[in-house]
Symmetry: C2
Subunit: 163 residues, 2 copies
């Protein structure tokens, strides 16, 4: 792989790492409380399984990204990086989708199921979750691009041989 | 690609097609109603955005699978099939995750957000949704395997040349 291609990949990975770190830190840090009938309710990510899954998935993707950045210079992985990038992309897409689905109910509610929106009560929590989800979405998109780029790099020599 | 490899890929695609068809048909067909205080509530997939997204994503994956099966014999796609398989895998993983997140709230509720479980009121709806989600999960897993297999097939000649 050329030096420019390698640098481009590293930049994309650093961006993905930044996005996953922001997603995890903001989601874990955020909490808000609402007072209803003299009872205080606290909203935090760990009360919702989908948000817990989101945090775990983003953390795994972040750690994986650090490992790949450090070891990529040694090229000990070879093409198996593409397989691991694929797994990471699917994991990120899955976690952002689950978290978004729940966030949508939190914002709009679901009148048919009798689930009321909660963002009116805990607006700070909802704002923080939104930022975290945007970062998680960015991480997923960056990994998708990385994967497309890696696939292109792997497939292009084959095309060259054929033509 | 050898004949056996090709046949194996076609079998996997037919299985994925069957899974997406089952997921869409059962999800679209299912409805249930509950009577609360003389008012009748009807539960159907279209009341929940995540389930609508699930149906659309499964339908897209199903149609794509049919097209690929019909055209794969002509090999006009070349390696771009891998890119499209990747997009389909991400789409399926995303849709099943969003639908599962909502189904989990439907089954267990979320006491912190004040969302009550609804499966007690509409058990038939929940059972049908469960079957549809299992089929959707199967489709996602099959596409993941297809992608791994395609990647292996593409990467292995490179390995062979190197060694």
């Amino acid at each position: 792989m050329g030096k420019i291609k390698k640098a481009f990949t590293i930049v994309l990975r650093l961006l993905a790492l930044a996005a996953t770190v922001v997603a995890v830190v903001i989601m874990v840090d955020t909490h808000d409380s609402a007072k209803v009938l003299n009872l205080t309710f606290t909203a935090k990510y760990s009360n919702t399984p989908a948000f817990k899954y989101f945090v775990i998935a983003e953390a795994i993707a972040g750690v994986y990204t650090v490992i790949v950045i450090f070891l990529s210079s040694k090229s000990i992985f070879g093409h198996s990086v593409i397989i691991m990038d694929m797994v990471t992309t699917v994991l990120l897409a899955s976690s952002i989708s689950a978290a978004l689905a729940i966030a949508q109910v939190g914002k709009k509610g679901n009148s048919h199921a009798g689930w009321l929106p909660v963002c009116g009560q805990v607006p700070h929590f909802c704002d923080q979750v939104t930022i975290s989800l945007v970062a998680g979405f960015a991480a997923a998109v960056i990994y998708f691009l990385l994967l497309l780029y890696s696939l292109h790099a792997v497939l292009s020599p084959i095309f060259t041989v054929n033509h």
